[in-house]
Symmetry: C4
Subunit: 232 residues, 4 copies
Amino acid sequence: MLEKLKQQVYEANMQLSQLGLVNFTWGNVSGIDREQGLFVIKPSGVPYEQLKPADLVVVDLKENVIEGKLRPSSDTPTHAVLYRQFPGIRGIAHTHSPWAVSFAAAGRPIPILNTTHADTFYGEIPVSRGLTATEINDDYEENTGKVIVDTFNKQHLSPFEMKGILVNQHGPFTWGMDAKEAVYNAKVLEVVAETDYHTMILNPTVKSMSPNLLNKHYLRKHGENAYYGQKN
Amino acid sequence: MLEKLKQQVYEANMQLSQLGLVNFTWGNVSGIDREQGLFVIKPSGVPYEQLKPADLVVVDLKENVIEGKLRPSSDTPTHAVLYRQFPGIRGIAHTHSPWAVSFAAAGRPIPILNTTHADTFYGEIPVSRGLTATEINDDYEENTGKVIVDTFNKQHLSPFEMKGILVNQHGPFTWGMDAKEAVYNAKVLEVVAETDYHTMILNPTVKSMSPNLLNKHYLRKHGENAYYGQKN
Amino acid sequence: MLEKLKQQVYEANMQLSQLGLVNFTWGNVSGIDREQGLFVIKPSGVPYEQLKPADLVVVDLKENVIEGKLRPSSDTPTHAVLYRQFPGIRGIAHTHSPWAVSFAAAGRPIPILNTTHADTFYGEIPVSRGLTATEINDDYEENTGKVIVDTFNKQHLSPFEMKGILVNQHGPFTWGMDAKEAVYNAKVLEVVAETDYHTMILNPTVKSMSPNLLNKHYLRKHGENAYYGQKN
Amino acid sequence: MLEKLKQQVYEANMQLSQLGLVNFTWGNVSGIDREQGLFVIKPSGVPYEQLKPADLVVVDLKENVIEGKLRPSSDTPTHAVLYRQFPGIRGIAHTHSPWAVSFAAAGRPIPILNTTHADTFYGEIPVSRGLTATEINDDYEENTGKVIVDTFNKQHLSPFEMKGILVNQHGPFTWGMDAKEAVYNAKVLEVVAETDYHTMILNPTVKSMSPNLLNKHYLRKHGENAYYGQKN
């Protein structure tokens, strides 16, 4: 079932590795079929060089495994929460990419300092609060998803404009209209974390980009007035 | 038309990717036929692995598309301004390479601290001012070109001696006598930004190179008394 | 003799190179057959591209060469001490990977700041004291092993929970249930050193991870209640 | 003539590129036949992917080209000075590798902080003074060699124990008993510069390694009591 989606999600998982965002089995990507309410996700702990499309696991939004011989990613409940709470998104990626983790462990958001950032993320990329002891001990992965949603609610962020977050002390989750876009956003987030780090050293009092420049770059690539790329 | 130039510009675009200067579709290179007043540029948003020489777009200096089925790069107006205002240059490259972007976002020029820099760039590599809200909102890409030219005028720089600039909060533009040299200069700029960053940390009071050493290195590679490389 | 173990240790040595952890002949991996009390180790100074399984040297726990035409790694006595003093471990890796060496030379442990670290190392990765002049001059490699064991004893660490250490001014030793896991741990240690370095710059007052989060991540991958990966 | 030496020097030049120490045509390696008093060096400005053994140029110690259709490296006089003044060395490498250049441009030596360094370089790697205006304007490359020798004389260094130097604001020169060892030393110098940089940030008051540890590591690889590697 969902063969086409499995192939897409497989390719997105493999790209995570090709883009240098993961080591070993770390990281996972999923994609959802909104009509059926089912998502496809990488199995837990399988090395990328052994992974095959048929290994992917089909899961429903209540986190039941619907098809698959292997256990799904241990982060599956986080993906499920995000699919439930952010109804429009169709793909999610999670990595431990080093620059993103550096910011997450520092508990710092990724400030909006350059146009590479503005081309993809509509503002500062947020960092969640850390989970409480109770949230960690019970349903940790589910609560990771809830803390992400909580951060978006408190900061009045839209998951369509801000397509990623850093979970405190952990790492990035990104999403998009499909699994491929989620991985694309994971790479952009990593690149922007790297450049911002060096910018902040070069200019410790650097200011955020003006809303004008942010709007210009974000909106030339997104929305009805976009003019970057080819017409579809 | 301009098949030979298209091939050259295609190869230069591909080299941008091979040299590790771009991710995804970011970055673009153009080259100009000065006799015909036409330049060839990468289409907007096409991945490098799909790009073919025939995909390149031919544009005139008034920014009209003369040939090509695809939209030209969204940065085409910036290239056009530079070709109009810097009459001798024949190739332009734009990237979002990470070290260059780090300096651009910090609003800092790349100081002249080592001979690698002096071999290619005749002095400190300037950073432009940021664009005003009006410049951003109307004809952003055209105004990006104008701000570059404005910086050169105010700092009394020659585009033949200083073959690149950082646009504030954005990234580098470099140029040269053809598309290939523009890409070469983009790589040198990136390497120099990286080394300078670490030098400035190792020695926060480091001074600029003496004019003597700068002249020696620049002029052994450029101009009538050059003695680096082979005779043509 | 020990052909299967030689093959495993050979592959683990080669992986050291593939994972970018060593240059030239630096680094070495060993694996032990606990029943026979013999371990297999890389020969000294042989380039990885020339290494063959048959080149590996068989050594007993008293450091006598039992089989092999080549000299064993000069670090063989360090491996022997660790196998004698940490009876349960079955593989050891030593590298000069750059981020780990940076911490070792600074005399600083690798703090526990992110979940990538907690997934593999159960707490801060310790750094040994430097060796005394006498320890350096006589039986240096043996004493390197003793200083590692001494550090574990003084800090009440278990080699099953903390599978690596930095030797002061030198570099990392890691271990595991086989040679492959020792190399895996060497890579994780390097990645964590890199991310921690940047985190400590981004947040100079960053605190260690809570025991709750450490336990959650470490124990979801290790021990009887682990639920990461596939059932065996 | 000197076909075997040309092949060796060719391979050493190619390794410079494979080890990630050079971009484009930067860098050059030479090797000498001490009996004939002739050295073989890379031609100036030829890309590594086009270089062939037959392109190498034969030069005598007075810097006359003895054989070769192409111009020798512009740094040939520096090599000649070093071969004349350091009579025992048989190979020289020059690169613009980024970490080494960062230290050279900062005017700082590479301190002796870890055993990777001590395995190859017997102490702190020196940085030369900058050249005077006169030294730059007349016979620059010759004077670069003289300043290297001058630094060794003033600091009472032996070119057999300290096989490299940073030329101020420029970059590293390394040497050895053949071209291959010179390139090996160029790589070690680069790796050590990288690790030292991070160590100095992690521990701004870090002290140099003790003479005991330096002697142990250097002498286990060099000299009559060496026990690293295989017997010849």
